[in-house]
């Protein structure tokens, strides 16, 4: 069991979630965060922090976002851990209502 970050995070990366995570399981990529499933303890504290509702418990992931389960596990391996909130991208607000943005994911 784990929680994961889904498509909404791409190009927004607000990082509010990072600040509340008790086990530092968020990893930072160029324009998205992911959760390391081996470290996440399912406390669910990060869910309400995300301004774009990108975080789900594994069992609640919407069907069209299921591929992010694998992506979180995979990308967490290569991306560095992030432990403190930081400024999001300057154009984050322009992307927060964009639904389909998987093609913009930078690895």
């Amino acid at each position: 069991m784990t929680h994961i970050v889904t498509e909404s995070c791409i190009k927004c990366k607000y990082t509010d979630c990072v600040d509340v995570c008790p086990v530092d399981c968020f990893h930072e990529g160029p324009n998205m965060l992911v959760i390391d499933p081996d470290e996440c303890i399912d406390c669910a504290v990060c869910i309400p922090e995300c301004p774009v509702n990108a975080i789900y418990a594994e069992e609640d992931v919407p069907p069209d976002q299921k591929d992010f389960l694998k992506l979180n596990a995979e990308l967490a391996k290569g991306w560095p851990v992030i432990t403190d909130k930081k400024e999001g991208p300057p154009d984050a607000d322009d992307w927060k209502d964009v639904k389909e943005k998987r093609q913009h994911l930078e690895r």
Partner: protein, 249 residues
Amino acid sequence: MEDANRSGDGTRYAALMEVVRERMTTRQFDPGYVVPEEHYALILEAARHAPSGANAQPWHYIVVTDPGIKKTIADYFVAEQRNRAKLKMKFPTPNYRGLETAPGFVVVVADFRWTRAFPVLMDGSELDRLYHENAERILLQSVAASTMSAHLAAAALGYQVWWVTAIGQANAQAEMKPLLGIPEDLSVIDIFLFGPPAKSPYKRWKKTLPQIMAFNRFDMANYMTLDDIDRWIAEKRHHVMYRDESRVD
């Protein structure tokens, strides 16, 4: 009789240990399960037999069956969990939402006024204060012994359990006491949840016997420095709390 109880064939010990070993923490229960009413009495009957300082039995158990009360208490814990996260306490909290749907829900209440039944001076002196501190420990051990008996009884009935602690804060008391009609001078000390687990429970890492046991003298091999403890907290704590023992490095 003596043989059967002491060395004997070990069947009573085996039966006890099966219950002790199989008692595992679950933080998500089957929400649809209804606890048969007689089970509350079977479980709390075990609590009743626990030892206590001065045989004061300073405990009360409030069985919560009202879903509205369960939800209010769960909401409090979820909010508190969020506060702790915001404070950067970095404690790996469980998801307290699981309280809301726990089939068995018992609030454990302690009456700290009973410290006066223990060895204290009652003269307001510094020495009295020290004895009172000790008396609080006596009281906490007493209530914990009773609570553990109840947990084991629940385990013996085939349930898994959740011992929700860390609710000594003033705001937790203020939230729960009026809700449950608990008199002001008593204290909610923990919450005992039980039921069939929503997913299969897992056995946590436990220290080995040599790591906790010595004869006649403390075994310094088992002494941890503060640095050791801090390292353990940073590297191991969340693993031993939330992983099966086979997956703890």
